[in-house]
């Protein structure tokens, strides 16, 4: 099978890979919708769809059929060309990014199957294409010729630009730690011994487990939720403020395309997160071949696990993506929507400085590692942290001294007006 694949021309190879790995994305979307509805209702103490098929599994299919046969209304004052193109534009980035996701190992017999294109600018490609996602929203918002849609489009473009920066910087940290932009190289780097300590060789160096990687992961996670316009960052489609934002005027299948685009994007971003921070297709952060070599007693199990990890890699990867989606849904069930100014200040004043500080720390960390080994890396990381903290303190003292920071904040929020006295019913007349 693999031999056959290698002999084909690159275009056919790519087509085969697309058929094997990207097409299922489309088929997964109904599953995701079902999962979201069921999980959400469970979290909200409801039952959720359970009538169509076992556990309501066929509900999304039924919905799809319904959407397909609904009347497709095109309002008369829309900008027609853009109106029709916009949903397609919204769908495009998800599938384009899907092209670089490594679904399985890029060595050994499975090497030639995935990713679809192992471009050597992988992460940049992800950033570039994800930045195109805004066009679908903005164009549909404009073309609808509807105030609410336009507002949704405006909000979305401001939001995406703000969060792209922090996202880019957090990914840049990981690029520095890896020394390569390729997705496959990033996974390879995460299969090195943990923290670069050789005696920990049986543990994998998933970036989530490194201190700087953890910070990057948090920043990336928040940014990816914002980039996909999901709660709590779903201001572009806030139902109670601007109806449904950019897709107010879309009905029938065109609406379904938006819907599909949103879920596909969620899935793909989860995939990027899994690849960059969670060791990609690896099931567990354990190098089974090292275990087999070091602990003879466990050699059999380790080898079995190694084979299992390798050959079923796409399934583990899918599992990680599903975890990411579950996280999205969990957030949606938990957090209320942000206010616009909160959204902006979170992006510009918290995430971006955090990501940049992390960037500095990683740089010093890597220099320490290159010069003095892993110990030097930790020392360098601490040094970097100290530098960043000192800068931060300086800045804070500077703003305090000149008086603007504090004054502005006082002017905005009258503290006494915001405190709420909780009344404890068990204590007579008492507040706590």
């Amino acid at each position: 099978m693999t031999d056959w694949l290698i002999q084909q021309s690159p275009a056919i190879q790519a087509t085969v890979r697309v058929l094997v790995f990207v097409l299922p994305l489309l088929l997964l979307v109904p599953g995701l919708i079902w999962w979201e509805r069921r999980l959400l209702s469970w979290m909200q103490d409801r039952i959720g769809p359970n009538r169509v098929g076992p556990f309501g599994l066929l509900q999304p299919i039924a919905d799809g059929v319904k959407l397909f046969f609904k009347e497709d209304i095109t309002p008369s004052t829309v900008d027609r060309a853009i109106y029709f193109v916009a949903p397609a534009v919204a769908l495009f980035p998800a599938f384009a990014i899907g092209g670089t996701l490594p679904w399985g190992p890029h060595y050994g017999p499975l090497m030639h199957w995935t990713p679809i294109a192992n471009v050597n600018i992988g992460i940049l490609y992800v950033l570039a294409i994800s930045s195109l996602g805004v066009y679908g929203v903005v164009l549909s918002g404009y073309a609808s010729n509807n105030k609410y849609s336009l507002l949704g489009g405006l909000r979305s473009s401001a939001q995406l630009i703000s969060y792209e920066l922090a996202m880019g910087v957090s990914l840049a940290c990981m690029v520095m730690a890896t020394g390569s932009l390729k997705m496959t190289d990033m996974i390879a780097a995460q299969m090195e011994p943990l923290w670069g300590i050789q005696s920990l060789g049986w543990l994998q160096n998933w970036f989530l487990f490194t201190p700087f990687g953890l910070i990057s992961a948090v920043v990336f996670l928040i940014c990816m939720v914002a980039e996909t316009n999901r709660t709590p960052f779903d201001l572009p489609e806030a139902e109670n403020e601007i109806i449904a934002g950019y897709h107010t005027e879309y009905s029938s299948m065109k609406f379904a395309v938006f819907f599909m685009g949103e879920y596909a994007t969620m899935f793909v971003f989860s995939g990027v997160f899994a690849t960059v921070f969670l060791g990609g297709w690896n099931l567990l952060p354990i190098n089974w071949d090292v275990v087999a070599a070091q602990v003879p007693a466990l050699a059999g199990i380790a080898r079995a696990m190694d084979g299992l990890t390798y050959w079923l890699a796409p399934i583990w990867f899918l599992g990680k993506c599903a975890t990411g989606i579950t996280f999205y849904i969990w957030l949606r069930a938990t957090l209320p929507r942000l206010r616009y100014d909160q959204l902006m200040s979170l992006g510009w004043k918290s995430l971006l400085p955090l990501a940049v500080a992390n960037f500095i720390v990683v740089a010093i960390w890597i220099m320490g590692t290159k010069l003095y080994g892993p110990g030097g890396g930790w020392a360098g990381g601490l040094l970097g942290l100290a530098i960043v903290y000192a800068l931060y303190l300086n800045f804070v003292s500077a703003t305090r001294k000149s008086g603007w920071g504090a004054k502005d904040r006082l002017a905005m929020v009258d503290k006494s007006a915001r405190t709420i006295d909780l009344v404890d019913p068990n204590v007579a007349g008492g507040t706590r």
């Binding site: 900008d79 060309a81 853009i82 471009v119 050597n120 600018i121 940049l124 490609y125 950033l127 570039a128 294409i129 930045s131 195109l132 805004v134 066009y135 903005v138 164009l139 918002g141 404009y142 336009l150 489009g153 405006l154 473009s157 401001a158 995406l160 630009i161 792209e164 932009l181």
Partner: protein, 163 residues
């Protein structure tokens, strides 16, 4: 070559669209398409990083801001254009066409013989760009950062009502 022809046709059509469309939003969208296609031209020239930077910076950031501003100002449609169709517009078109004609007639014939239209393998890669930026072009690189700093400070100074 065929790839290039297709890309070039799309790019030129998009560029024409930028100029000829009367609605600012459509012009901007055409510009987006143009930038996007240009990135692919860079790709086939073996300049991957340049191409992807083109998409990130122009398509992904600058043009979004363009659209943002156009939508925010809600620039009018066709009427705005009709008012300006006076002799100066015609004159401008004339001069522009003349300039393009002069440049094209003098230069294009000579470009056709030089046909090795791509960089050496690996010379458009991130490693190569990084190497060049931090060796030969390190001083312009730093100066560009000063330029950005000036831009940031300047825009804050101009935009903030109260400092």
């Amino acid at each position: 070559m065929t790839t290039f022809t297709v890309l070039a046709i799309v790019a030129v059509l998009a560029a024409l669209g930028v100029v000829l469309f009367s609605s600012p939003v459509r012009s901007a969208i055409c510009l987006v398409v143009n930038f996007f296609v240009l990135a692919f031209v860079y790709f086939i020239l073996n300049a991957e990083l340049l191409g992807i930077t083109q998409i990130i910076v122009y398509t992904g950031a600058i043009m979004v801001l363009f659209l943002f501003v156009i939508m925010l100002l809600n620039l009018g449609g066709p009427q705005a254009w009709k008012e300006r169709r006076e002799f100066r517009t015609v004159l401008g078109f004339g001069f522009g066409a003349a300039l393009a004609g002069v440049i094209a007639s003098q230069l294009i014939t000579h470009f056709r013989e030089h046909s090795r239209p791509f960089a050496d393998d690996g010379y458009g890669s991130p490693q190569a760009i990084g190497r060049v930026l931090f060796t030969q072009y390190v001083w312009p690189f730093e100066v560009a950062s000063v330029l950005l700093l000036v831009g940031i400070v300047g825009s804050i100074l101009l935009a903030k009502r109260k400092l």
